[in-house]
Symmetry: C2
Subunit: 359 residues, 2 copies
């Protein structure tokens, strides 16, 4: 089979190693006589996977003991509601940095729950960016400050995190484990798994346990973080197979180390941004330079017609998923942890040829 | 490899055909050069799977056009809240038939949302059962009547469904597609996939579309059925791989037909119940005869010590997952669609020998 270069923004490319292991184990998992897809979530075979997935995340991210690692469902979109339902208590205000499409969705859901202060708003700026730490106008005694560490659609990323007095809550869906992060500086981190961690259908939540204790009593049981902390994410049946793939992906990351992956990720992004900058404005980066994402490289071509032609010819040449998000257009190359460096080099070659042929 | 008999209550046994297809396609799906685990949920390859999964369910269950088929996350446990949040409007009362552990959980969540009438309560009766249609005390102009079509833990099942004037809502997690059901008699049906439909991490909701229209405006976006109806379950990233497996499982069911599966399911259950009844009280069925589940056959042995010994020796003999739910003890043999008839015959043989050796 010929494996193509998959630039999809999520679900996204996974390490070939992981896929081959999953294939080899799919019908009979570890000699149990059944597939991991068929294992009870209370059985020993699955329990070991559940534990390994947690242990790998804890060691890779240096997650302190007073933080729980939860495996939930419903994506970051469900976290947009769970965060304020659990942490935005009556009489309090939550600060939100509105950095783009995803932050705006988080804001929309939080406003249904309680009082929200927009600490900074650059959602619609072009070039795209996230706020600078210095421009945040924070509420005194806020319930929390919410940020979106990487805006998948606009291709802008926080390079330095704010350090507010209140708990810092971050949607890290599109850059978790792509770089070292000091978890102890955060109150809560959440991430859909389908970019850097595994397949869709799994949301990872890393939460300082004490923050879960004050949630209102009458919340739906499934929407209380405390439910999942107390039951080790086994209150009901978890998305076992997605957790299994996360265990395999984090096993793969452990072989390399987060620092190494971070260096490679920066190099991959630098190669692409250099190619854009070297095109003398023919390719034009969407994000302001200091906020350029290492995960989602977004750029425009001289016309929308050329963008459509670029996407179509790239697909024929074996580069999938380069079309920008339907809400903004343009081109987006998502180059998460598992995206190979040679794919970036190949894309740069294609970009050069395409420019020469169409200038 | 030697495949064992998997009596787990869920996640549960899947057709070997399905596992082998999933294995063969895992690294390269349909010549796309990527795994289905890596496919964008907006890509053509995945879109065909999403559509096939819906089409298969619609044809197998004869689902009328005014019903939507939704692929959600969070399990039946999340539906316990979503149903009343969307359908139990202010000033209304919802009727609940409290038939066991699962119905009781649905009641608990509904009470957080609004007014609940317990239309019948046999949750704690031994032998276990579900209510008779005739004993239901229904509210006039109720928002809906909620039933649990099969109580997975107690092993009791509705054989005849009530036909209230209000919409009928059913948790069919453990018997969906195990028997023909007239969907047009229901307002809403929901089911965790991990018993008869596929792996965990996917919840199927079949809803008469008009029922979704009156939900309060301020519900979290992800908890509104209307969100998912309007977006064809693609408002955010769905659990793609679980939906893919559901597509394969329903493809497998289509080859046989629901009527055939129903006949086989009844035969499998009858073989087990006959063995229990023929033991002259040594094995004792947990459920009242007329409500005995075709999916979860529950029984007791003379002592708890013998039950522990039975489970341990059965496991050694290649019968996995026979321990009853930790909340009630005893023995439970879950024999969903994909459980092979020869596994039931083999278990009956084991039961006879065990009884002779321990009487």
């Amino acid at each position: 089979m010929s494996r193509i270069y998959n630039f999809n923004a999520g679900p996204a490319v996974l390490p070939l190693d992981v896929l081959e292991t999953a294939r080899d184990e799919l019908v009979d998992f570890n000699g149990t006589g059944m597939s991991i897809l068929e294992s009870s979530h209370r059985a020993k075979a699955y329990a070991a996977i559940h534990q390994e997935a947690q242990d790998n995340l804890r060691s890779l991210m240096n997650i302190p003991d007073n933080y729980a690692i939860l495996f939930l469902q419903g994506g970051a979109s469900t976290q947009f509601s769970m965060v304020p339902m659990n942490l935005l208590l009556p009489g309090k205000t939550a600060d939100y940095a509105n950095s783009g499409s995803w932050a705006a969705k988080a804001v929309k859901e939080a406003k249904k729950v309680g009082s929200v202060n927009i600490a900074a708003d650059c959602q619609k700026e072009i070039p795209t960016r996230v706020p600078s730490v210095s421009e945040l106008r924070l509420t005194e005694d806020a319930a929390y400050l919410h940020i979106t560490s990487n805006e998948t659609i606009s291709g802008a990323q926080w390079k330095t995190f704010p350090e507010p007095e209140c708990p810092l809550v971050a949607d890290m869906s599109s850059d978790i484990l792509s770089r070292p992060v000091d978890v102890s500086k955060f109150g809560l981190i959440y991430a859909g798994a389908q970019k850097n961690l595994g397949p869709s259908g799994l949301t990872v939540v890393i939460i300082r346990k004490d923050l879960a204790e004050k949630a209102p009593e009458n919340l739906p049981t499934m929407l209380r973080y405390a439910t999942h902390i107390e039951n080790d994410s086994l209150y009901n049946t978890p998305p076992c197979f997605s957790i299994y793939i996360l265990a395999l992906v984090t096993r793969w990351i452990k072989k390399q180390g987060v620092e190494t992956l971070f260096r490679i990720n920066r190099e991959k992004a630098a190669v692409l941004y250099s190619a854009i900058d070297a095109s003398e404005g023919w390719y034009k980066g969407t994000a302001a330079r200091e906020f350029r994402s290492d995960m989602n490289v977004t750029f425009r071509l001289p016309t929308e017609e050329l963008e459509a032609k670029f996407v179509a010819e790239a697909a024929k040449a074996g580069f999938a998923g380069l079309k920008g998000h339907r809400s903004v257009g343009g081109i987006r190359a998502s180059i998460y942890n598992a995206f190979p460096a040679e794919g970036v080099t190949a894309l740069v070659g294609f970009m050069d040829e395409f420019r020469k042929a169409n200038s």
